[in-house]
Amino acid sequence: MELWHTHLLREKVDQSSLLVQGNRACALGALDAGVRFFAGYPITPSSEIMEAMAYELPRVGGVFVQMEDEIASICACIGASLSGRLGMTATSGPGFSLMQEAIGYAIMVEAPLVIVDVMREGPSTGRVSVPSQGDVMQARWGTHGDHPAIVLAASTVADMYRLTMAAVRFSQRFRTPVILLADEMVGHIRESFSPELVGRYRLTSGDFDFTPGYVHPELVREVHPPHVLGSETHPHVTGCTHDETGFPTKDSGESERFLHGLYDKVTNHRDELCLYDVKNEGKGRVCIVAYGSCARSARAAWRLADQEGLPVEVLHLYTLFPLPVEIIQTVARRVEFMLVPELNLGQYAREVRKLAEPWTTVISMGKVGGNLITPREILNEVTRLIGKYESV
């Protein structure tokens, strides 16, 4: 069976292309995926998402609320999700930190939710309009306790559209918050973007069923049916570890089953959740593993390497968590080095290293300070690695 997203991940510029800003493309993706509730608090560099939703939602019968802060925003989204409408919010690092507690609550009560974090330099206020990828591990482990995480990373305007759609779908199917990471570059860039993608691959209503209490038939055994506020049943929703009735449980067997269940419903579906793209597959001695804006630099570096006859492949990850174990290990078995450029001090390189070390050497190439990693910097590192290999 061909996965629905293979269509969405095609690259195309055609005559119907429009010039769209990344943040706006995110809002368009959300609207086209059926998001009808947005609560947020503006913060650079994510504000345009909120601005677009504020403008568009009332026109399609949706609800937009500007809340007093990010905590209230995400709580409003959880409320929307519990009453059968998928809630979405967008923020940047400082706001994302405030949302962490409620993200844990959403995971616990199995509320579908989409959170877009357009990353800027941190910690704290940092610098507001420079790109960074410093929130990667926060997206994975920001809230306390053992919990699953679905984290996607966008690198182009088209990604902002299609990965927002993917986030909506994943959150709805698995009934858990999905985090879409972008950075200032991806959020603010304007790029030609083909609406042909939008039309032809517009997801059908079966993919985006927002009926209160709906659970996809394939997942009934893994996803707990939601208690819908305002429905006939008597709902009880709690962040306490609970049993099937929704009421807290003191039984350790019950809570073990419940917590494993939360985890497994995500990790058992890596095939569906892990989106990636390999360039120059099987032909590289060095593989550049990249996501977000660094994936663009990695692709440009691969084109330069190609001109210079250097054997390089690129593993572009769209899904960071759950970890794309299979593809990382497959590539690790065939290359000598894996190079991980990222706009932080090696957060994801550590994850890659855990998976790939038995077979290959993982080199972290972290950079902070607000400038993108240039293709030339990556290429220099590749040259250094391959040169080093040949002198051994």
Binding site: D32, V60, R190, E191, S192, V198, G199, A300, T374
Partner: protein
């Protein structure tokens, strides 16, 4: 649903549109498959809008395009710049590496960015604003854009669109049809006629006007 999805739905229903004939571009940079353009000036001059209009026009030429911008926190004054990459192939790295065309609307922008210009690049500047011409060995073109806008169009604020007209006329980085369409779409409602005139005046600037007004 958003307008974006609606229009594409119609298109899918009809099948893909017929390819239109290639839009003609003529000028000193028209034959380049990959061009990097930087507009530099100060806040309030409409520098960011210039980049957006150019990028929109390049998109109408069915080419790949990326536009980024950077500006200081001030509403007026402070630095402002807008970068555009236009290419026949998808663009990976979104930042400028070697600039083919620098359009400088302030002395600071000219001084700061001239170093990043390629040897075979083009420097176009407003000679009312850039009085000390920075050292650059390549093609250097000065035109008093802001003066023409004020005296002939009657509104100093149209200098950005007028400059854009001249840029397209001289370099051919986008087609005239596309820039006209993009200007009419992107300028504020009610100013289309005014900006249309400014664009036409810019497109009509010829070699006899280069530098001539300035010295």
């Amino acid at each position: 649903m958003s307008a974006l999805s609606q229009s594409s739905q119609d298109q899918v229903a009809e099948g893909m549109a017929e390819p239109s004939p290639a839009l003609v571009r003529t000028g000193v940079l028209a034959d380049r498959d990959f061009v990097e353009v930087r507009f530099g000036g100060s806040g309030g001059q409409g520098v960011v809008l210039m980049g957006i209009i150019l990028a929109t026009a390049a998109n109408y030429d069915h080419r790949c395009v990326v536009q980024t911008e950077s500006y200081g926190p001030e509403a007026r004054g402070g630095y402002s710049r807008s970068d555009v990459i236009i290419s026949n192939d998808p663009i990976d790295y979104p930042k400028l590496v070697k600039i083919d065309l620098l359009v400088a609307l302030s002395q600071d922008a000219a001084d700061a960015y001239v170093k990043t210009l390629q040897k075979n690049g083009v420097l176009i500047y407003d000679c009312e604003k850039v009085t000390t011409i920075p050292a650059f060995a390549g093609k250097t073109i000065g035109v008093p854009f802001s003066r023409i806008a004020k005296e002939e169009i009657g509104k100093a604020q149209t200098a950005n669109v007028l400059t854009l007209g001249a840029v397209v006329g001289i370099t051919g980085i986008v087609s005239v049809e596309s820039i006209q369409r993009a200007v009419l779409e992107e300028v504020p409602a009610g100013t289309q006629e005014l900006n249309g005139r400014a664009l036409a005046r810019g497109l009509a600037i010829d070699q006899s006007e280069w530098q001539a007004h300035c010295k």
